[in-house]
């Protein structure tokens, strides 16, 4: 670890923290339907969409209707991606002549993008036409992100409204989020990325004759427009197979810094939106503090482990850390930081190959996802995930003092706690259950690229990433098989919707309750005690669930590495 490395980490944290308030202010205005500086341009477009879609923007929805609307929206999104992938060979914008994508891979990819996972069993430049990348993937990058934020808004309204039945209008929330938040930022951001060197063209791949006379086919495409929303919406699905490790998908150290900031920006700002809406910004900062502490702890471990390198490299007299699978322009520090950022949020973009990280360096991304991606988390998704843990923490605190727990004016009762537990427990069922199948079924075992404990970690990582809707991978695992295409799709589906529906049920239950003013007996939820309690609950629940699996994977691999055992 170096001083300049830590300066880069601190700089990153400072930029994210500085964005929380202004972005939170702006997003609150958007979701409250207030005027913004973009309204003169965007308001007519917004009204046009409602007019065509038959949406009455003043008519709000019950939580069930809101959820059904969200699910219907996803059915359509699935159909668009699946259809385009199957038909890409006969559709325009296909200069590389890509052929139709197989049924199981199309199915997996469509589920992957509507759930904001963006797991890549496909290799972008070798599989997909420009049309699929734009109309299939770029559009769902926007809409799955907007859906996440819309759902978080509905849950926040559950806390802020008193004795009501509605939680907002899904169509209005999704449209506003797309038009006023995601799209304007992406326009500026995409042009910045092109300036840094990212291609943005509909032209064909270029054949170059190298200096030594070899032939090199250089894949191009409309990269920047997709990468902007891939990062901002914590989607993470790469235009290219190597994702943000590809020089075209992340050309410079500056583009890398901005990409990392954009992964966290909206998720971090959600804490401030929450604070503003419940009338006390400190409520938001307390949650931000929980996230920040867990994040910095993770970065420290991964940076230390990667800078330290592996015993095998040391034995050959090599110093300078574990550079296998890392890009030189980012080095150890920016690669480690990116890995922790992308898994703390539910992004899943990678700028280095996690499969080649040291055992402990690669364990932190795994843990981040297993904790439910609540450290900043996916846009919206991370925030409602965190609120589930807050509900539990408040419940535990209430048990300790023997008083009905309350949070920001709402009593937390049996129904909320049951729903929170349902959402939190269904995730390990998916990733531990499928991992157990994946390591005994012979056809699945054949997919592992590494042997020994590292192979087990590849499988565990895949199902954890899919369930958490992250999308990053220990990419040695051959995922494009019938088994993995179907099982990973099921994990992504359950991981997304079995989290969303209980969260929405909580929103519906809370919104009907009366708000009660804080009294002398109310547990204060803006101080250090609360922050410590939430961190404790996250670590205890997470630790009890996945420690045994980690012991079989990265922990035993670390011990093997120190004993100079190779597999």
């Amino acid at each position: 670890m170096t001083v300049i490395g830590w300066i880069q980490i601190i700089l990153f944290c400072a930029i994210v923290a500085a964005l929380v308030k202004p972005l939170g202010w702006y997003m609150t205005r958007v979701f409250n339907g207030e005027r913004t500086f973009l309204s003169p341009v965007l308001r007519p477009v917004e009204r046009g969409i409602y007019w065509v879609g038959g949406v009455d923007e003043r008519r709000e929805q019950h939580w069930l209707t809101y959820t059904v609307a969200m699910l219907l929206f996803h059915v359509g999104g699935f159909a668009i991606i699946y259809g385009l992938m199957r038909l890409q060979a006969v559709l325009p914008f296909n200069p590389a002549g890509q052929s139709a994508v197989a049924e199981d891979l199309s199915f997996n990819t469509a589920i992957s993008f509507i759930t904001n996972t963006n797991w890549q069993n496909y290799g972008g430049e070798s599989t997909l036409s420009y049309l699929v990348q734009m109309v299939g993937l770029t559009h769902q990058n926007f809409l799955s992100a907007a859906t996440g934020i819309a759902l978080a808004m509905a849950l926040i309204r559950g806390f802020t409204r008193s004795s009501m039945r509605t939680v907002g209008n899904f169509w209005v929330d999704v449209t506003r989020c797309t038009l006023y938040v995601l799209l304007p930022i992406c326009v500026v951001y995409a042009l910045f990325l092109v300036w840094q060197g990212m291609p943005q063209t509909l032209g064909a791949y270029v054949d170059a004759t190298t200096l030594e006379g070899g032939k090199q086919t250089i894949a191009l495409g409309p990269v920047a427009s997709q990468v902007a929303i891939k990062m901002l919406g914590t989607n993470g699905g790469g235009f290219f197979n190597a994702n943000a490790a590809h020089p075209f998908e992340n050309p410079t150290a500056l583009s890398n810094l901005v990409q990392m900031v954009s992964i966290f920006a909206l998720g971090a700002a959600m804490t401030n939106v929450f604070g503003r809406m419940v009338g006390n910004e400190r409520q938001g900062w307390a949650i931000f503090a929980v996230m920040g502490i867990l994040f910095v702890a993770g970065v420290t471990v991964t940076y230390w482990a990667e800078a330290n390198g592996t015993s095998a490299l040391h034995a050959l007299g090599l110093t300078g850390g574990n550079m296998e699978g890392k890009e030189l322009r980012f080095g150890i520090v920016a690669s480690s930081l990116f890995a922790v950022v992308t898994t703390a949020a539910s992004c899943g973009a990678v700028n280095a190959m996690h499969d080649s990280f040291t055992a402990l360096g690669g364990m932190i991304p795994l843990i981040n996802m297993q904790l439910g991606e609540v450290i900043i988390g996916g846009v919206g998704a991370g925030f409602y995930g965190m609120l589930l843990f807050v509900v539990l923490a408040i419940f535990v605190a209430g048990l300790m003092v023997g008083r009905t727990p309350e949070y920001v004016g709402k009593k937390i009762e049996a129904r909320e706690v049951k729903m929170a537990m349902l959402a939190i427990l269904v995730l390990p069922l998916m990733y531990l259950g499928w991992t157990a199948v994946g390591v005994v079924l012979p056809s699945a075992v054949a997919s592992m690229a590494n042997s020994g404990p590292h192979g087990f970690t590849e499988v565990l990582y895949a199902f954890t990433s899919a369930t958490g809707n992250n999308g990053s991978a220990f990419a040695g695992l051959t995922g494009n098989t019938l088994f993995y295409n179907l099982t990973l799709a099921s994990a992504m589906f359950v991981g997304r919707f079995f989290m969303i529906v209980p969260a929405m049920a909580i929103a519906g239950s809370l919104v009907e309750k009366k708000s009660i003013p804080a009294s002398a007996g109310t547990f204060p939820t803006t101080g250090g005690l609360f922050v410590g309690l939430v961190i404790g609950v996250i670590l205890i629940i997470g630790g009890l669930t996945f420690f045994p699996a980690l012991a079989l994977g990265p922990i035993v691999e670390h011990l093997a590495m120190n004993a100079n055992t190779l597999f």
Binding site: I49, V52, T65, L72, L182, T210, E324, N450
Partner: protein, 201 residues
């Protein structure tokens, strides 16, 4: 609930048109005007022919050129489409080795490369980036140490003085952005082009 079906189709279609077509096509149009070189892939031409991209590494094996990092990219096996064969710096199929820290295959590969490099330049310690593959397999850069390590070989192959070659390395070394962000690096293709310009083959 049935009244949600109409917006589920029409709002989706409109938002898809805006985000999936209007937005990427608008960015393509604007970028093509204000950043035409980058938008096309930062291609480098020589005598009217494209010789590569400034951002994409390419394979160098000859002694007279500086070599980039090892690359783990592959291509489909021409004899058996279900298999792949190594194809370093394949810019149409990016990817890493994905070998883990306790991988014997990784250890064997690094060991072999270290021995080769030690034989080439026994006086310096082997820089780690010269024996490890990058994430995308297309890394255009090496560290300044890795460039300096190769100076004796390149100078000998070109009958140039080591000082002259070292000078070119220094000229082609880029520092951190704003002195803080990223790592110091040398773009291999740019350095090799500078070499050819200084002393034609």
């Amino acid at each position: 609930m049935l009244r949600e079906i109409r917006p589920a189709i029409l709002v989706l279609v409109l938002l898809t048109a805006i985000t999936g077509l209007a937005y990427p096509l608008a960015i393509t149009g604007i970028a093509g005007v204000i950043f035409p070189r980058q938008a096309q892939g930062s291609l480098i031409e020589q005598d009217g022919k494209v010789i590569g991209s400034a951002l994409i590494g390419q394979e160098f094996k000859e002694d007279k050129y500086f070599h980039g990092r090892p690359s783990a990219t592959v291509a489909p096996d021409p004899n058996d489409a279900s298999k792949t064969v190594p194809a370093p710096y394949n810019a149409a199929n990016s990817g890493g080795s994905n070998l883990g820290p306790t991988s014997k295959a990784l250890n064997d590969r690094v060991k072999e490369d270290v021995e080769k490099l030690k034989a080439e330049n026994p006086s310096a310690s082997v820089p780690v980036d010269l024996v490890t593959t990058s994430g995308g397999g297309l890394d255009p850069d090496i560290s300044p140490d890795a460039a300096l390590f190769q100076v004796p070989r390149v100078a000998k192959a070109r009958s140039m003085s080591e000082d002259a070659v070292r000078e070119l390395v220094t000229q082609n070394t880029q520092g951190r952005f704003a002195g803080v962000i990223g790592e110091p690096r040398v773009n291999v293709l740019a350095l090799n082009l500078a070499l050819d310009a200084a002393k034609p083959k």
